[in-house]
C-alpha cells in the first residue's frame, strides 16, 4: 500500500538527485520515509536518498518496493507547476502507479524491482577530513575546472587549513582555494583525491546552490557529499570513487 501527496518541487528535487546517475531505480516505500539507493552501472557513483514522511502533505506506506523508469516519472512531474501538489497512489492489482497533478492523471507502468541491478555493498568509510561549504562554492570550482580538464582534484592542506579544488589542463590550470574563513566548517585531515568531472558535474546539477554541503574526503578514497532539501526533510548522500594515480 502506498498513497502520498507531495509538493511537485520537493518530488522533483528528489528525482533529479537520482536521475543524474541512473535511468531506473527502486523506490523503497518505508513506513516513515521514501528511500532510494542507486549505483550507476559502472559502479563508480552512488546516491542514497531519504525523504521523510513529514516532507509529504500526507504519506501512507507499508514497506513495499517498486521499480520506476526515472525519465518517464520526471517527465510527468515536470508537467506540474512548482506550487502544485502531486498525488501518488500504487495500484497493487495492476502494479501501476497513479499520478494525479491537478486535473491531469497519469498511469505509470512500473518495472519489476528484481530486474533492476542490485546495489553492491557500499563501502563503510571513515574519512579523515570534512569540509562544509555552500553548494554554490563547489559549483564554482567544478565549472571552472571543467574549462581546462575532465578530472578534478579535491584536497585539504592541513598546514594552510584550507580546502583546494584544482584542475590541471595541458596549457591552463584552475585553482580554487577556500580557507577556513571561507568555509562553513573545516575538520582538517590528510585528504587528496582525484575525481572524474563527468560524474561530479552531474551530481553538482542536483545540488542546490544555497544548500549546505558536507564533504567527506580522504587520500585516494571515495568522496562523500551530503546535503539536504525539502526544508531539511530530504537527505541526499552521494559517494564517488576516485581516479587512482598509478605509480
Amino acid at each position: 500500500m502506498f498513497k502520498a501527496i507531495v509538493s511537485a518541487s520537493t518530488l522533483r528535487d528528489a528525482l533529479d538527485s537520482v536521475s543524474v546517475l541512473v535511468d531506473e531505480c527502486k523506490l523503497r516505500l518505508e513506513e516513515d520515509e521514501l528511500a532510494i539507493r542507486a549505483v550507476d552501472p559502472a559502479n563508480v557513483g552512488m546516491v542514497d536518498l531519504a525523504l521523510e514522511a513529514a516532507a509529504f502533505e500526507s504519506y501512507e506506506a507499508d514497506g513495499g518496493v517498486i521499480g520506476v523508469n526515472l525519465n518517464r516519472l520526471e517527465d510527468i512531474v515536470g508537467m506540474a507547476n512548482s506550487g502544485d501538489l502531486v498525488q501518488l497512489e500504487l495500484d497493487e492489482e495492476t502494479r501501476k502507479l497513479h499520478i494525479q497533478i491537478e486535473e491531469l492523471s497519469y498511469t505509470l507502468a512500473l518495472i519489476d524491482p528484481d530486474s533492476i541491478r542490485e546495489e553492491p555493498d557500499i563501502p563503510d568509510l571513515d574519512l579523515p577530513a570534512e569540509i562544509v561549504l555552500e553548494g554554490a562554492q563547489i559549483g564554482r570550482g567544478i565549472t571552472a575546472a571543467d574549462m581546462v580538464s575532465d578530472h578534478i582534484r579535491l584536497r585539504v592542506d592541513t598546514d594552510a587549513e584550507a580546502f583546494f579544488i584544482e584542475a590541471e589542463g595541458d596549457t591552463d590550470d584552475v585553482d580554487l582555494k577556500l580557507e577556513r574563513d571561507d568555509l562553513i566548517d573545516l575538520q582538517s585531515g590528510p585528504a587528496d583525491s582525484l575525481f572524474s568531472l563527468d560524474y561530479l558535474k552531474d551530481m553538482n546539477k542536483a545540488i542546490p546552490s544555497d544548500a549546505e554541503v558536507r564533504v567527506e574526503l580522504g587520500e585516494e578514497f571515495p568522496v562523500k557529499l551530503h546535503y539536504e532539501f525539502g526544508e531539511g526533510m530530504g537527505q541526499v548522500t552521494y559517494m564517488l570513487a576516485p581516479r587512482i594515480q598509478s605509480d
Binding site: V39, D40, P41, A42, N43, V44, G45, M46, P120, D121, I122, P123, D124, L125, D126, L127, P128, S149, D150, H151, E168, G169, D170, L194, S196, D198, G218, E219, F221, P222, M239, A241, P242, R243, I244, Q245, S246, D247
Partner: protein, 424 residues
C-alpha cells in the same frame, strides 16, 4: 619492460618523406595532369564513356543538399579494386604518395542530391550509385557527363589538405553489367524495417569489414525505409566505427580483464601508436601529439599540439571535439582485439604524429595501425604508470605534460566495490 628490443625506428625513411612534403602541392598537380591525359584518351572527347567503379563518394558541404558521386579510375580500369580504401592498403603498406596517387586517379562523376531522395530512388543515378556501393567488386558503368567531358581542376589549398581527384558534373550513370551483391547485404537492403545500427552490426558479424559497411551506409542502403538517406562519406566512416565499436564494447562488458599491463606499438605513415592495456573495467582514451611540421598542427611555433578524448565504462555522452574520427577508429581497432581475446581492459592509445606525416591520408590509417598493433611482440609493465614512464622517453612531450593532458595518465577510475571492505 624492454621496449627497445622490439621497436625499430625508421630513421632512414625520414629524409625521403621530408622531400615529398616540400613537393606535395606540385605532386598533386602532376597527378592531376597525368589523370587528364588518361581521361582524354579514354573518353576521346565523348560525353558518354564507359568505366569501372569501385566506390562512391558523398560530400559534406551544403548538407542536406550534397554532391554525390561515382568514383572511377578512368584509364586504369584494370586494377580498379586497388583504388578503393580498405584494410588491404595497410597490408600493401601503401605510402602517403600512393594514397595521393590513388585518390587523385579517381574521377568523381557527381550530381547534386537531397539526401532523403535516395529512399525512393531505385534506378537512375542514385540507383546506379547504390549498386556500386553494395556490390562486392568494381562495377562496369556508363557515365554521361554534362556539358561534354570537362574536368574541374582548380587545385586549392583544400585539395592539398584532403586529396581528392578531379570532378565532373554527371548527367547520368547506368550499370553496364549486373553487379554481384553478397547475400547479407541484399538482406539488409531489402529489410526496410531494420534500424541502421542493427544492420551495421549484423554485417560486421557476418564478416564484412567496416569499409564495406561504410559504403553501404553512405549510399543510403541501410536503415528503416523512411530514414534512409545518403550519408556523407566522412560522417559515415565515423558512424560505422562508433556503431561497430559499441557492439564490440558490449561483447567484453562482462568479460574478465587482461591480467597485466601490456604495451603494444605500431608505426605507419609517420604515425607512431602506443597502445597500453591495463587491468580493470573498460576505460579508453586517445591522446594525440602532433609534431610541428605535421599536418593538423595548428601552430607549429608553439610546438607539439596535444589533443585527447576519453570515455569510461558507460561510454561518452558528449561529442569528441578534439580528436574527432581518429578517436572512434582507434577505439574500434583496440576493441576488435579485446573482443577476439574475450577480455576487457583500460585502454590508453598514445598517437605521435611526426613531421613525416605530410599529407592526410584519412582515418583508415589510424584504424589499421591500431588494429595491427597487436601483431608480434609486446612489452609488459607492473603498472600503467610504469608503462607510461617508459613510453614517455620516446614521446615528444614530457611526462608532466602528458599527465596534465591525459585523464588516464593522471589517474585510473576505481569503482566503489574496490573500497567495499577497506577503510582508510
Amino acid at each position: 619492460m624492454k621496449l627497445d628490443d622490439y621497436v625499430e625506428f625508421e630513421e632512414n625513411e625520414r629524409a625521403e618523406r621530408r622531400r615529398l612534403a616540400s613537393e606535395k602541392s606540385y605532386e598533386l598537380v602532376d597527378h592531376l595532369e597525368s589523370f587528364q591525359h588518361r581521361f582524354e584518351e579514354a573518353t576521346s572527347g565523348d560525353a558518354l564513356f564507359g568505366s569501372v567503379s569501385p566506390s562512391i563518394f558523398v560530400g559534406t558541404s551544403n548538407y542536406p543538399d550534397v554532391s554525390t558521386g561515382i568514383l572511377s579510375p578512368v584509364g586504369r580500369e584494370g586494377d580498379a579494386d586497388r583504388f578503393e580504401t580498405s584494410a588491404a592498403w595497410y597490408d600493401e603498406r601503401v605510402s602517403i604518395s600512393d594514397v595521393f596517387d590513388r585518390r587523385t586517379s579517381l574521377l568523381n562523376s557527381n550530381r547534386p542530391a537531397e539526401v532523403t531522395e535516395v529512399a525512393d530512388a531505385w534506378d537512375g543515378f542514385l540507383g546506379t550509385q547504390r549498386e556500386v556501393a553494395i556490390a562486392d567488386r568494381p562495377v562496369d558503368v556508363e557515365i554521361g557527363l554534362d556539358d561534354g567531358p570537362t574536368l574541374d581542376f582548380d587545385v586549392t589549398d583544400d585539395d592539398v589538405a584532403t586529396p581528392t581527384g578531379p570532378r565532373a558534373r554527371a548527367r547520368s550513370a547506368e550499370l553496364a553489367e549486373n553487379p554481384h551483391v553478397p547475400r547479407p547485404i541484399k538482406k539488409t537492403l531489402e529489410d526496410d524495417d531494420w534500424n541502421a545500427q542493427g544492420a551495421m552490426t549484423y554485417l560486421y558479424r557476418r564478416g564484412f569489414d567496416v569499409y564495406d559497411i561504410n559504403s553501404v551506409l553512405s549510399a543510403g542502403a541501410l536503415g528503416r525505409g523512411e530514414n534512409r538517406r545518403l550519408v556523407p562519406t566522412r560522417w559515415s566512416i565515423t558512424a560505422v566505427d562508433d556503431t561497430v565499436g559499441k557492439f564490440l564494447r558490449g561483447t567484453v562488458r562482462d568479460a574478465p580483464s587482461v591480467d597485466s599491463v601490456e604495451v603494444w606499438r605500431n608505426e605507419y605513415l609517420g604515425n607512431a601508436f602506443w597502445v597500453v592495456l591495463a587491468p580493470g573495467d573498460w576505460e579508453y582514451e586517445l591522446v594525440e601529439m602532433k609534431a610541428p611540421g605535421s599536418i593538423w598542427n595548428p601552430d607549429p611555433e608553439v610546438g607539439v599540439a596535444m589533443s585527447s578524448a576519453h570515455e569510461n565504462r558507460e561510454g561518452r555522452t558528449g561529442y569528441v571535439d578534439e580528436t574527432a574520427g581518429a578517436y572512434y577508429a582507434a577505439r574500434f581497432g583496440a576493441l576488435e582485439h579485446l573482443s577476439e581475446r574475450g577480455r576487457q581492459a583500460k585502454v590508453l592509445v598514445l598517437r605521435h604524429v611526426s613531421d613525416d606525416y605530410w599529407g592526410p591520408v584519412g582515418v583508415w590509417q589510424v584504424r589499421e595501425a591500431v588494429r595491427n598493433a597487436f601483431e608480434g611482440e609486446h612489452g609488459e609493465a607492473e603498472t600503467l604508470g610504469a608503462a607510461v614512464r617508459e613510453v614517455a622517453d620516446h614521446l615528444p612531450v614530457s611526462l608532466g605534460r602528458l599527465r596534465s593532458k591525459s585523464t588516464m595518465v593522471a589517474g585510473l577510475q576505481s569503482s566503489l566495490s574496490d573500497f567495499a571492505t577497506g577503510r582508510p
